[in-house]
């Protein structure tokens, strides 16, 4: 039973890690941090695997957990064990060739709006599923999404805004 669960989790991890990492990276624009957050989220996912495996969108659970993770056990652990290496400087959005103005604007959004953007637009969930994952109503998801878009249009520099307002 335990072995079966491990195998199942390992398959889920291998199949979804990349998606989860990319989506979290868009939110945090820092690959080492994103990897930490995703690792932390998968650790939590394994700890609650009986529940997570039964969800309609386990990926969404992981992404949400990663985005909500604060300075976690994993982060502290990593810092402590790598003190000697001195090479933990975070990569920036420019290093990652991200659309930095958009990423910067995303990072300024409230957590809930970022969650909605991540799940609705990056993961491609529909409004109902997003609402279920976040434990809020569909209309609240729509409200958060509209507010997020409005904020992004306001925050992104003019040349970017042109595209968003066409």
């Amino acid at each position: 039973m335990e072995e079966e669960g491990q195998r199942e989790f390992a398959e889920f991890y291998a199949a979804t890690w990349g998606d989860c990492l990319r989506i979290v990276m868009v939110s945090v624009a820092d690959r080492p941090l994103a990897e930490d957050l995703v690792a932390e989220a998968f650790t939590k996912a394994w700890a609650s695997w009986q529940k997570v495996r039964g969800l309609a969108e386990p990926r969404a659970w992981v992404i949400r957990a990663a985005m909500n993770a604060r300075v976690s056990w994993w982060r502290r652990h990593r810092r402590e064990v790598t003190l000697g290496s001195q090479n933990t400087t975070a990569a920036t959005s420019q290093d990652l060739a991200l659309d930095s103005s958009l990423v910067a604007a995303l990072r300024r959004l409230p957590v809930r709006q970022r969650e909605v953007i991540a799940l609705r637009l990056l993961l491609g969930l529909d409004t109902g599923t997003t609402a279920e994952v976040l434990g809020i109503s569909a209309s609240t998801v729509t409200t958060h999404l509209h507010r997020a878009i409005r904020a992004l249009r306001r925050d992104i520099p003019a040349r970017d805004d042109q595209e968003l307002t066409q």
Binding site: Q6, L122, I149
Partner: protein, 203 residues
């Protein structure tokens, strides 16, 4: 302004960003994720008395449980899992001290000094009046030479000798503390960077 167009444009741009990140593979195998979750679960069972960290001007205190007494220390490799304390050299030159029982401070001090850490160690309420704080030896920076570790590989202290400023050492004070759960022992840890001297750190 059209919200649908804005939504579509934003979605496309986000998809471009996401896809531009390319294929990525986990840097940590699933087995390690599972193992870490298990270790965390076990640690929560074994160390229910972990009550948090209180940062002070010249140190910090943390309460940990002292599970079981046992044998004496080991340098570099622990000889017994349940020794009163262990000193283990980790990759990167970090020295991790784990305390389980307030016993043989002189032995711990000698073990640390043998590992190149100018150290002053006390157990109980003994005052280390011979030690003088090192100006600027505060905490909470990534290059901190001494950190209280509540997580890995167990409650204790991590020391990075190479990060100690010249002419300094480490003061470690372990104190008996009350445990949140009645009947269980607790240990408080205070750490500080101090000025090295014959009287304080032995050099």
């Amino acid at each position: 302004m059209n919200n649908d167009h804005a939504l579509t444009a934003l979605k496309d741009r986000l998809a471009d960003i996401r896809d531009s990140l390319g294929d990525a593979h986990p840097s940590i195998p699933a087995s390690e994720i599972i193992a870490r979750a298990r270790r965390r679960r076990v640690r929560r069972r074994l160390v229910p008395g972990l009550t948090g960290v209180l940062a002070l001007a010249a140190g910090a205190t943390v309460a940990v449980t002292a599970p079981l007494p046992a044998s004496h220390p080991a340098s570099h490799r622990p000889r017994a899992q349940l020794a009163a304390w262990t000193v283990v050299q980790q990759p990167g030159g970090i020295i991790h001290v784990t305390i389980r029982e307030l016993r043989d401070p002189a032995g711990l001090q000698a073990a640390l000094r043998a590992d190149g850490v100018p150290a002053s160690v006390s157990f109980g309420n003994g005052q280390q009046t011979a030690c003088r704080p090192y100006p600027g030896g505060g905490f909470m920076t990534s290059a901190n030479p001494v950190l209280i570790s509540t997580v890995f590989p167990g409650p204790g202290v991590n020391i990075r000798p190479s990060a100690l400023p010249s002419g300094t050492g480490v003061l470690l004070a372990f104190l008996q503390r009350s445990h949140p759960q009645p009947g269980r022992p607790g240990i408080g840890i205070e750490v500080a960077v101090v000025q090295a001297s014959q009287q304080c750190t032995g050099n």
